[in-house]
Amino acid sequence: MGLSMLAPEYRVDRDKERCIDCKVCVTQCPYDVHYFDGDEEKVFAREENCVNCHRCVVLCPTRALIIRKYPLELRENSAWKEIDIRQLQKQAETGGILLSGMGNPKPLPVYWDKILLNASQVTNPSIDPLREPMELKTFLGSKPERLEIGCDGSVKTKIAPQLELSAPVMFTAMSFGSISLNACRVLAEAAHDLGIYYNTGEGGLHQSLYEFADNTIVQVASGRFGVNSEYLKTGAGIEIKIGQGAKPGIGGHLPGEKVREEVAATRMIPLGTDAISPAPHHDIYSIEDLRQLIFALKEASDYEKPVSVKIAAVHNVAAIASGIARAGADIITIDGFRGGTGAAPTRIRDNVGIPIEFAISAVDNRLKDEGIRNQVSVVAAGSIRNSADIVKAVALGADAVYIGTAALLAMGCHLCRKCYMGKCSWGIATQQPHLVKRLNPEIGRERLVNLVTGWKHEIKEILGGMGINAVDSLRGNRHMLRGVDLNSRELDILGIKAAGE
């Protein structure tokens, strides 16, 4: 291949007055951008390698660095935008499938931002959560249709296994392999501290994390990496991964270079081989087959763990969710089209799936219409950015949410979206030892606990403002939501009124 026709994406502006040539940027950059020229005795940049991860910007002791978007003033064209041209040229150079990291960045509507919350004024007093009890406790699992109470007040009905959360939020599936062991440890420890759960993803459970088993949901995906009876019996819950919001309908390839000793041992595969998860589970070609796997897992875990089934939000999500409930799942996890990923084919990530907001209301409606809403809990994932998004998700009908990107941001991720390169400068999406140690698990844990603690306070404030004192009273309570800038069809599907109605 001759000369690359790709211009740099970013420009490294180095303030020569401030730069002291200390070479911190050189040692910190895993993408070989900064280099020290011994003859000139100066630091220079190979801008074409820059991914704008901001590691050098943050660590530069004299604040000498600014990364800017490269001023690529191509002739204006509404149809052929810069990104289209860049992607096309990259494929012309490589002949490969375009890869992307993290969630869909395209300017499609974010429906969370078109939904507004209610608050009490005069007729129903608001509640001050600082002085009055406010319950965020959430139980995930199948609920009985009716409760039988004995004369002594004890519950006689046998209750299916439940996950108990201190607030309706959990850390979503991210495998050891896609993220570093330090990042997994941060999730596990923070989940433990917060009284919630994290999810192993398809990477197996590292021996050092078995101590957090009570806060662990273990995942079973099509590659069955790291899955054995001990793994299934160890987790507090089991999740069958059918799909992921960022890449509905396709599998995953963890490249061999990330399969180092610890990853290989945890996934129980040889060193350096690609870890390939086929697109489907080849033992599941129907709802009946799904039922077979759900009960294989229940048999394997002595019916002591709730079993979740995770799907991507796709067109017929409501009917699929109904099938999953009838197949015997205790929890349905739905991942919206903005959901994150370590690596996904760009065209799939950017074009497949539906927004999670619609999926939640469609699924909640369908399960209620069929009278089976109590049989399953619904967990929503994919683009939950803050506490208000959580409140909106619960009011639309979710029991709880999963966060992934938000948790990584708390650890230090700067959303440069190059996770698939395995060189994460913040020590999160990498297996290179010198990069992994950049993420201090203690500090990461504290930051993540801080984030969720702050959100808990905010959720209580929002609930109190609505005059509600328990998250249970918010679930599916769409009266608390109003839409702005939405057409009547969208309002109908979301099951909410327009602002002013």
Partner: protein
């Protein structure tokens, strides 16, 4: 030896009984097995189940070292994600036998269905092995990441002993097939390599076991007739992406 009767029992009732008995019984004989699923699931080393009849899907799923002998045929998903142990089937097996199997051995007297040995893997000392006496359906060893599959093709021509797309997506392990099978039957990720001394040792040991299990004469099988197939590389999709 404990004798259980599976007649009219649901899989849960039957498996609860097995789970209770297995830790203290060396042998459990189960009569009238009629399609109950998950028999022997997660069962540990130290117990042998003798099944009279036809066990249902997912026989020995996640099994951990126990032995199972099936007097009749088996259905789909035998040894699903099995970790160790041995299964002997005195008939034929269904689809996806040995899916993601990580350890142990499965011997099948006659045929098996589609996608058998899919995503079999190996790790350290755990090298799973599937020994098929008759023929296998399409996609044998698909996505295979480790382990051993041996097809004897007894009463089949070599061409008919496997289906199409054998070893497609294969990136680990090895497949031995008796007789010359035309190239069109294989996936594009597979290549044939000559057998070496250790291959013959492995074949001899496993085929001897097959003959013992099913009372077949070792003299009928000439080890020199076997062909060995391995993946072209451990990273079949390494060049698929534009980084």
């Amino acid at each position: 030896m404990k004798v259980l009767d599976a007649h009219k029992l649901s899989y849960k009732e039957l498996n609860d009984m097995i789970k209770e008995e297995a830790p203290r019984e060396k042998e459990i004989h189960i009569k009238n097995v009629r399609g109950q699923r998950y028999i022997g699931g997660t069962l540990n080393q130290g117990c042998t189940l003798y099944l009279d009849g036809v066990p249902g899907n997912d026989l020995a799923s996640f099994m951990n070292g126990a032995h199972i002998v099936v007097s009749g045929n088996a259905q789909d998903g035998v040894g699903n994600t099995m970790n160790g142990g041995e299964i002997v089937i005195h008939g034929h097996g269904g689809d996806i036998m040995g899916y993601a199997m990580r350890g142990g051995e499965i011997y099948v007297k006659t045929e098996v269905g589609y996608r058998v040995g899919i995503h079999m893997k190996e790790f350290g000392d755990q090298v799973p092995k599937l020994i098929i006496g008759g023929s296998a359906g399409n996609f044998l060893g698909e996505y295979m990441a480790g382990g051993v599959i041996i097809v004897l093709g007894i009463s089949y021509s070599p061409e008919d002993s496997i289906g199409s797309f054998c070893g497609t997506g294969m990136h680990g392990g090895r497949i031995y097939i008796r007789g010359e099978v035309p190239d069109y039957k294989f996936g594009k990720e597979v290549k044939e390599v000559p057998l070496e001394e250790e291959d013959y040792r492995l074949l001899e040991a496993k085929i001897k076991k097959y003959c013992r299990h099913f009372d077949y004469s070792m003299e009928e099988i000439d080890l020199k007739d076997f062909h060995k197939y391995v993946p072209k590389g451990s990273r079949p999709y390494g060049n698929l992406y534009a980084y």
